[in-house]
Amino acid sequence: MSDNASKNTTGHVWDEDLAELTNPLPNWWLWAFYITIIFSVVYWIIYPAWPMGKSFTKGMGNTITYVNNKGETKTTHWNMRAKLMKETNEAVAAQKPWFDKVAATPFEEISKNAELMQFVQSAGKTLFSENCAACHMAGGQGKLGLAPNLVDDSWIFGGTYEKIQETITIGRHGIMPPKGGSQINDEQIAQVANYVLSLSGEPHDAEAAKAGDAIFHGEGMCAACHGPDAKGIPEMGSANLTDKIWLWADVPGAPDQVAKVKAVSEVITNGLSRGKMPAWGGRLSPEQIKVLTVYVHDTLGGGK
């Protein structure tokens, strides 16, 4: 050590015997360094690199050819956007036969075709997880106060292929004005709530329900939207009040009759406008929406 120090040091000495060596760099390191310099020069030549006034060097002998949506073939200097066009072209070409088949096949036939259904299941699952699961939950079971169950047989807007396709494409927004737009008072609201609970066999006060029946079909104007049989009207997206399925009023979670009446009364008093299903027509292609439609109808199940 001390030999070395006398020969190849910077000449500084700290704390009596601490010196700094000035040995040459190891060869492997030096060569790696030279190679990175050579690499960067090659890179500058092949890829877009140096700014030149109002433009930049575009790279030599390195072009990308792609086809755009008008069917025009274009060749341009290497850049990420063109590269994406080309890769998308290739990927679309690989999936195209499948999407074409889905697009060309009527809904009813798709579900009978095992091969196509396999495609729908895998493509549909990905699309559903990314776009729909945040509201309808991963399995499509929905969530009280947020978004309806897509697995069951009950449909607010209609469960045919065509209706589901329409729902996904243009979105939905069922609106119920406070008190259904009527002038009924709190006592009448409690009565009609009892009537609504009686329709699905929930605990209720029979006498109040009888008065509620009259209000539902009369002064309260409920029947105008929910139908005289209270089964809902798909065109309006009004809920079917005769089944055990609740989307907004937390009837299943309410422990007793008083709490159930309160839950339903609250919905009637405040009305509803929160249930907004976004429109996907602008975000997803018609083929993707068709895949999702079949996925919702057949894979999640419960098409009617």
């Binding site: 700014p51 006034g53 109002k54 433009s55 930049f56 792609y66 755009n68 949506n69 008008k70 274009k74 341009t76 850049n79 990420m80 956007r81 063109a82 590269k83 994406l84 066009m85 890769e87 998308t88 990927a91 990314e130 776009n131 945040a134 509201c135 969530k143 947020l146 406008s273 929160r274 249930g275 907004k276 299903m277 976004p278 429109a279 602008g282 975000r283």
Partner: protein, 249 residues
């Protein structure tokens, strides 16, 4: 040895280090001011700019987004890769953040990219999700932001817009600038950019939009959700060929 001189003279070392580093900055940044194509041209058929500055309410929302540090987990930059295009949509344009000071591109993605989250979910979803993310997405690690339901301070909105105006965002002061904006963006947008009407515009949008499902108060939630809902929605990509934006690179 010359090197010796530099290393032993701290002032000189600092000056020379600074010079060496700024070469990189000069070569990378300065040309962008001269290369015309950096910021894409994004216009409607009748020649109006599609990308507009934020409305007063959206701008307040953006400031809350920055205040709460949402950018520490969310980027706003969809890169031109196929996996990102499939998941998030069209890659981000430089033009889409031309009025962002500072931009929110980011690079840390603990949560998903938000550059095109506008319109993806309902207002109601955002409100519930921001108050309690795990009530919507059980495995989420995003923090709760319940205090966003508190009232929004709208008094300083004109100052915020004036500050941005100095950096070049075309919020208008006076009739001449307003008329210029009518030409560039159309009348409807231009009205929203008037600094004179800032607070009134902010309140009107919050009341009519009712983003937080609470019609009585204007809350920070109104502003933040209005901001989230506009992200990535200004450009109508269906109006362009799918390779229109390739020519700008």
């Amino acid at each position: 040895m010359k090197h010796d001189k530099i290393e032993r003279n701290l002032g000189l070392l600092m000056v020379l280090t600074m010079l060496a580093i700024s070469v990189g900055g000069l070569v990378e940044i300065v040309p962008l001011f001269f290369i015309k194509d950096t910021v894409e041209t994004v216009k409607t058929a009748d020649g109006k700019e599609m990308i507009r500055p934020y409305t007063p309410l959206e701008l307040r929302g953006r400031d809350i987004y920055i205040r709460e540090g949402c950018y520490t987990c969310h980027s706003q930059m969809i890169r031109p890769f196929r996996d990102e295009a499939l998941r998030y949509g069209h890659y981000s344009l430089a033009a889409e953040s031309k009025y962002d000071h500072p931009f929110q591109w980011g690079s840390k993605r603990t949560g998903p990219d938000l550059a095109r989250v506008g319109g993806k979910y309902s207002n109601d979803w955002h409100v519930q999700h921001l108050i309690a993310p795990r009530s919507m997405v059980p495995e989420s690690v995003m923090p709760n932001y319940p205090w966003l339901m508190s009232p929004l301070d709208t008094s300083d909105i004109a100052d915020r817009m004036s500050a941005l105006r100095i950096t070049g965002v075309p919020y208008s002061k006076g009739e001449a600038e307003y008329r210029q904006n009518v030409q560039t963006f159309g009348e409807e947008v231009a009205k929203m950019l008037r600094i004179e009407d800032a607070e009134a515009n902010l309140r009107a949008q919050a009341v009519s939009g009712n983003y937080d499902n609470n019609p009585n108060d204007i809350t920070e939630m109104d502003a933040l959700v209005a901001y989230l809902q506009v992200l990535g929605t200004m450009v109508d990509f269906s109006k362009f060929d799918d390779d229109y934006f390739v020519q700008f690179r």
